[in-house]
């Protein structure tokens, strides 16, 4: 095990050692959403003609958990290391900015998928979604997790304190996930808000992901793939650049 693989392994070990908090807790949260929203909104929200609301909710909750946990992983690891001062152990090594990128984003993807799988296994029992096109499911889960892992990396480099991190999470990540169509199909929104939703890259992640389960979606999965991939490339380019110049970590 050398270079970036060690950093990847260390980052996975870090969240796995506290998996009760990093994996089990978000699964429980998603189950709560399922029970409460699924029960309350079942007869009120109309999504697609052929799909029950509880089934519709499953992929949304899975993707939301994937995104939030992928973000939390790289972001909290970096902020903690900066505040504790132990980031120095990595700064002193010959690891390149690419190694940092692969390791931090890779481990975030691992955590996102671990939580996502847990949420799926528990909520599918309530909702019974289909599995029409599993490849789409995998592709969007991977790209979504990588995208949020990368955003977490950028936020982790930028934030100097836990409250800055929390602000990023609460004022950027949370609204973008909740307004992406986790709990509803954007076709049920007024035209203006449909337009606004189309500007949110998170919408395409969830819509494309959901297509893999049901074979129906608000926009074509190919369009979603193109948009999500472009967004992923753009944030990755920013993250790699920040790592290369040592933004806020090498003075």
């Amino acid at each position: 095990m050398t270079g970036w693989q060690t950093l990847f392994y260390k980052e996975v070990l870090r969240f796995w050692k506290v998996s009760f908090q990093t994996v089990a807790a978000p699964v429980l949260t998603a189950v709560m959403y399922m029970l409460i929203f699924g029960h309350v909104l079942r007869d009120h929200v109309k999504v697609y003609d052929t799909i029950s609301y509880t089934a519709f909710l499953v992929p949304g909750l899975v993707m939301m958990s994937v995104l939030q946990n992928a973000f939390a992983n790289s972001a909290s690891s970096l902020v903690q290391s900066k505040i504790m001062g132990n980031l120095v152990f990595i700064l002193l090594t010959p690891l390149s900015h690419w190694s940092w990128f692969l390791a931090y984003v890779g481990s975030s993807v691992a955590r996102g998928l671990a939580v996502g799988l847990g949420v799926f296994l528990v909520t599918a029992w309530f909702g019974r979604p289909g599995l029409v096109a599993p490849l789409w499911i995998i592709v969007f889960a991977l790209e979504g997790a990588a995208m949020l892992g990368t955003l977490g990396l950028i936020a982790g480099l930028w934030a100097e304190k836990f409250d800055q991190m929390a602000a990023f999470q609460n004022f950027v990540i949370m609204p973008m996930t909740f307004l992406s169509g986790v709990f509803y199909s954007i076709h049920s929104l007024p035209v203006f808000w449909q337009g606004v939703s189309h500007l949110n890259p998170f919408f395409y992640m969830i819509d494309g992901f959901r297509y893999g389960f049901f074979g129906v979606s608000d926009v074509s999965p190919w369009l979603s793939l193109a948009i999500v991939s472009s967004a992923l490339l753009a944030v990755s380019a920013i993250a790699v650049h920040l790592l290369r110049i040592g933004y806020k970590i090498r003075t």
Binding site: M1, Y9, K10, T93, P94, G246
Partner: protein, 336 residues
Amino acid sequence: MPAISFQSVSKLYPSVRGAALKALDGVSFDIEEGEFFGLLGPNGAGKTTLISVLAGLTRASSGRVAVRGHDVQRDYAQARRQLGVVPQELVFDPFFSVRETLRIQSGYFGVKNNDAWIDELLQSLGLADKATANMRQLSGGMKRRVLVAQALVHKPPVIVLDEPTAGVDVELRQTLWQFIARLNKQGHTVLLTTHYLEEAEALCGRIAMLKAGRMMALERTSELLKAASSNVLRFKLDTALPAQFEGKARVTGRIVQLPAHDAHEIERYLAIIREAGLRVEDVEVRKADLEDVFLDVMSAGYAGRTDAIAAPPPGDDGTAHGADPREADSIEAPTA
């Protein structure tokens, strides 16, 4: 090729009010392979900044730094492989055990199957029974030992210790210095910053002194001691200091210390005391130590000597090491 080479290294920190803070101001010197080198200076002199530039934690505003010929910016991966840095702050990763910490650190440097060397490090640093303990459970001294072990996992030829003994008990200091001196004898270059001048005197073959980011002195330790006044007259005094001693004496509470070059000067001092009718106690004459030199250099303009700071004379003791081996041998000596 020098183990470490600093060439006109400056570091400016932009300050809030516009006036930049010059943490390092044109620092230049080389450290040869196998030297045990001391970097001294008061707080804020720029010692840690210099080490941060060397380790790639900070970028110099101008100048060049190379480790065994590898530029720390352009060829950072090679440069960092040569370096083992013990940071000044007592930092640790609370998620891992001691052994995990050391295995992970080895992996960062691409060193596989390193358990034999890790065991040796644990043994040498008195950590063998703590290998499975979580980092959080360790005392401060034990955490410090792990920091040293972490810096050495990849067997770096150049070892940098930034105040490794600050707030550390006597036992650990002894263990640490014996171990570092052994590595130095095996050919590792050691760069040490410390506040304990006895340690520097006992261990370092050469010493550089920094003040406000500038080099104040760079000499062999023995030369430095020779250059200073060779003796110090020390006594206790309850009344005011005679005017003749103003500016010469170092006063710590009741204790007065006067540097003296020879017996005549001591006699003169004693005559002044007698004529003034002062009541002095515990009079003694001792040899000047590094602390006297240090205070000399920091107060006076020792700066004139910095032009004589090229490389050290190549091992005139006939060994491959630049440092005087007798000084490295006396490591049992440093007292608390």
